[in-house]
Amino acid sequence: MRVTQSMLTNNMLKNLSQSYSRLDKYQDQLSTGKKINRPSDDPVVAMKGMNYRTDLTEIEQYQRNLSEAYNWMENTDSAYDKGTSALQRIRELVVQASNDTYEGDQRRLIAVEIKELTDHLESIANTKVGNKYIFNGSDTTSAPVNLDDINLPIENLDPDATGFVVTYQGNEYLHSGGFTFKNGTDIIEITDPAGTPSATLEGTPIEIKDLIVSKQSAVPTDVQEVKIELSKGVNIVVNSNPTNSFNATFFSDLKEIISKLENSSSGEEISDSLDTIDNHLTNITSERAVMGARYNRVELIEDRLGTQEVIANKMLSNNEDADIERVITDLKIQESIHRAALGVGARIVQPSLLDFLR
């Protein structure tokens, strides 16, 4: 084949430009740390990369949700813890007061302390985390408990019972027109609340004194669960059902105890209240137990998310990060090739026959 100078120069330029483009590729890889710069460099890597990025974002988000879940659960638990101590102190005081050696004045002093503790329990029920009341279901912007509007005289229902709620044997009956109150399908009907009141539950007469009348805004009525997604499709309930613990019965029972102490009831009558206090303690403890079991589950999820994050990061990195040692080696090789190309080009292009003709 006949080879001419212009072929040599053209080839040299072409090869040098190819060499530059390879150097450019390695430079890109080194300065971005990525194997690919555009999807067409490797479509599979690009698509996987998008996928892994989304996975990673999801895991990071679930971890963020996790801290909010912990926030709810830990605050709920600690509120219950404080509530239990307060209730135990009340129990001690009641035991103390049930001694008939205590006189009316002494019992009244004890009542003062129990009153303070009740107020304390009210504030525990109204615990606010961030901007939210945690013991009011999903109605997080209004306070669940208002002690003053619990256990009101029944004549308050007259003439309009709207906005009131009636508690009977621990169940709450919401107002549903007239003097009718409803819990699921069960209906309590009250007649003549202002005069001589009487009440029936599903037609069966019940004692008026067993009914606790409160304003709906003063007791927790929202039983909706607050759920947080902690993994794809895994929604964990992070609140405790407030109607099981800080409910109307709870506070009206405490009020009852105070009034017993203030009104010089007999020691026997006072010690009857111990059973109710024990009941409430059990309620709170069982709510705590439920919360604790769930907390353990959240911890397991956290563990798993941690592992998933590491794996997702590793996949992302394996998929698209450049193998730096390799790139540097390739770069070095390419550099020497480039130098050789330049050197050989410079030598070939220069001389022609002209240099040797005299």
């Binding site: 084949m1 006949r2 080879v3 001419t4 100078q5 212009s6 072929m7 053209n10 080839n11 072409k14 555009r38 999807p39 067409s40 460099d41 490797d42 479509p43 690009a46 698509m47 990369g49 998008m50 996928n51 990025r53 989304t54 974002t57 999801e58 990071e60 988000q61 679930y62 963020r64 949700n65 909010e68 961030g130 901007n131 939210k132 009011n136 279901g137 999903s138 109605d139 997080t140 912007t141 929202d222 909706q224 607050v226 759920k227 947080i228 997604e229 929604n235 698209e320 022609s352 026959l353 002209l354 003709l357």
Partner: protein, 519 residues
């Protein structure tokens, strides 16, 4: 009997012919770097020997040579390589233009990255997750609003950028058509000049070179086929004649003439001088409604191209070359459907924007806002179809009216969670998919297309270059060779001159030395 002065003429012929050869060498050296130039050489021919056989020819011991003449000056070139080159050049033109178009698209889509549509959708999802955890928090609500806006604006940006580039292609199509027309006009002009020179027996080598260069250039734009027709008069045997240039499709079937030249009736292979001309390609929207409309009136995409007054459908215009690739990128109508790289990507984005926005709106309407009211539209929807270009937030949506709750309680974030999951439960074209999976598919298709175009562009480039290499091997000027020739011709010239001196001395002997005996 030969003439006494015979030797002088023989030597003179030697001198002039060597001199011509030296001048041609000079021409070669001057044009060593001229694009498209093929080296030329003088065809040395012996002149007729003496005596010529005839009745009255003198009897001599043998025929005596009478020297040399420059028979013709010819360029050194191989047609077959030209043909191969043009074939590969069309392919390179097609694939490199396509690869450029896809590269631009990749740059706009910008995936995978930390700023593309995919990550914007992920961030929107994140903000909805945050909202589901803290539904009553005004901060979380504002973030949802802003990230939702970012999703809409990213769709707008992608759509606008793609449309802008697409319109650039339209301009480029027009420019390319103009370029092709200018090339055919120039080829036709050169054809005419050649047809005026060749009948006299000359070889217009430099015009041949120029014509070949223009045809090379034209071959990058469309697939062409070149047919030769002989000039009239008495052309040289090496004359190349007149070129008829036809546009052909990928299988080699002619589509139409670009540069016309027809045979003379009754004289096969010979040019009819009146038939020479060039036919313009056109692809434009004439204001005259009766004229050929090359663009679809509703979509604005290419429908056909015109050659002279004839409309050629895109289906028949199935050629390699840059023009077809630009039309493929810009988009054309096929059986009433929009086809092409950019229109297809745009319609994928439109479909994605529409499906996502509609699914999101319907989930949003199922929820309740902060004040317990039923949610409205999140993305603006007035009944006209939502697409990537017009997607935006509903003007009435505020951070308070985001429907995060299933019930009417402010602390309920369940609908926010359902909204977040909209992107994973999408139905596009009756197929259940997720936004990310679908978009990944779109990007994957683009990436594979682009990779193919880049590879084929490189491959056809390599083939074209190797043909060019061989062509150069035949036609390019080698300085060393020219130097050697120069010395060769110089020596021959000098020797011829010396020959004259010797003959001169010989004649001196005859004229001044003879017949002076006894002086």
């Amino acid at each position: 009997m030969r003439s006494t002065f015979h030797g002088l003429e023989t030597a003179r012929r030697g001198m002039t012919t060597q001199q011509s050869a030296l001048y041609v060498t000079g021409h070669n050296i001057s044009n060593a770097n001229t694009p498209g130039y093929s080296r030329q050489r003088v065809n040395f021919e012996q002149t007729e020997s003496y005596p010529a056989p005839s009745m009255n020819s003198p009897m001599m011991p043998g025929q005596l040579g009478t020297g040399v003449q420059a028979g013709s000056i010819e360029r050194v070139r191989e047609d077959f390589l030209d043909k191969q080159y043009r074939n590969e050049n069309s392919k390179t033109g097609y694939w490199s233009s396509r690869s450029e178009a896809l590269e631009k698209m990749e740059e706009i889509m910008n995936e995978p990255s930390d700023s593309g549509l995919s990550i914007t959708l992920d961030r929107f999802w994140q903000s909805l997750q945050d909202l589901s955890v803290q539904p009553e928090d005004p901060g979380a609500r504002s973030v949802v609003l802003e990230r939702g806006r970012a999703v809409a604006e990213t769709f707008n940006f992608l759509s606008d950028s793609l449309t802008a580039i697409q319109n650039d292609f339209k301009d480029q199509i027009n420019i390319t058509v103009d370029h092709a027309n200018s090339l055919s006009r120039q080829i036709n002009n050169i054809n005419k000049q050649i047809s005026e020179i060749e009948p006299h027996g000359y070889l217009p080598n430099d015009l041949y070179d120029e014509r070949d260069r223009l045809i090379d250039e034209l071959s990058e734009i469309v697939d062409i086929k070149v047919t030769r027709l002989q000039s009239g008069g008495t052309p040289n045997k090496s004359a190349e004649g007149i070129f008829k240039v036809e546009m052909v499709d990928k299988t080699g079937n002619p589509i139409g003439d670009l540069v016309t030249a027809n045979e003379l009736a009754g004289k096969p292979g010979v040019i009819d001088g009146n038939s020479m001309g060039s036919i313009p390609l056109a692809i434009q929207n004439p204001t005259d409604p009766t004229a050929i409309q090359n663009f679809d009136t509703t979509t604005g995409l290419v429908k056909s191209i015109s050659l002279g007054g004839t409309e050629i459908s895109i289906d028949s215009f199935n050629t390699n070359g840059k023009l077809r690739s630009l039309i493929d990128s810009y988009g054309y109508m096929e059986n009433g459907k929009e086809v092409g790289l950019y229109p297809e990507m745009l319609s994928e984005l439109d479909l994605l924007a529409k499906s996502f926005a509609e699914a999101f709106n319907s989930q949003h309407k199922a929820g309740h806002d902060l004040s317990g009211n039923v949610g409205g539209n999140f993305f603006f929807d007035d009944g006209t179809e939502i697409d990537a270009k017009n997607i935006k937030l509903d003007p009435t949506i505020t951070k308070e009216t985001i429907a995060a709750a299933v019930t009417d309680k402010p602390g309920d974030g369940e609908n926010a969670l359902l909204l977040a999951n909209v992107k994973d439960n999408l139905t596009i074209n009756n197929v259940k998919t997720s936004v990310n999976a679908y978009y990944e598919g779109v990007i994957g298709d683009m990436a594979v297309n682009s990779q193919e175009a880049t590879r084929l562009s490189a491959n056809s480039g390599v083939l074209r270059d190797s043909v060019e290499q061989r062509r150069q091997s035949v036609s390019a000027v080698s300085i060393d060779e020219e130097m050697t020739n120069m010395i060769k011709f110089q020596h021959a010239y000098n020797a011829s001159a010396r020959n004259i001196t010797i003959i001169d001395e010989m004649l001196d002997t005859i004229i001044n030395g003879l017949g002076v005996g006894g002086r």
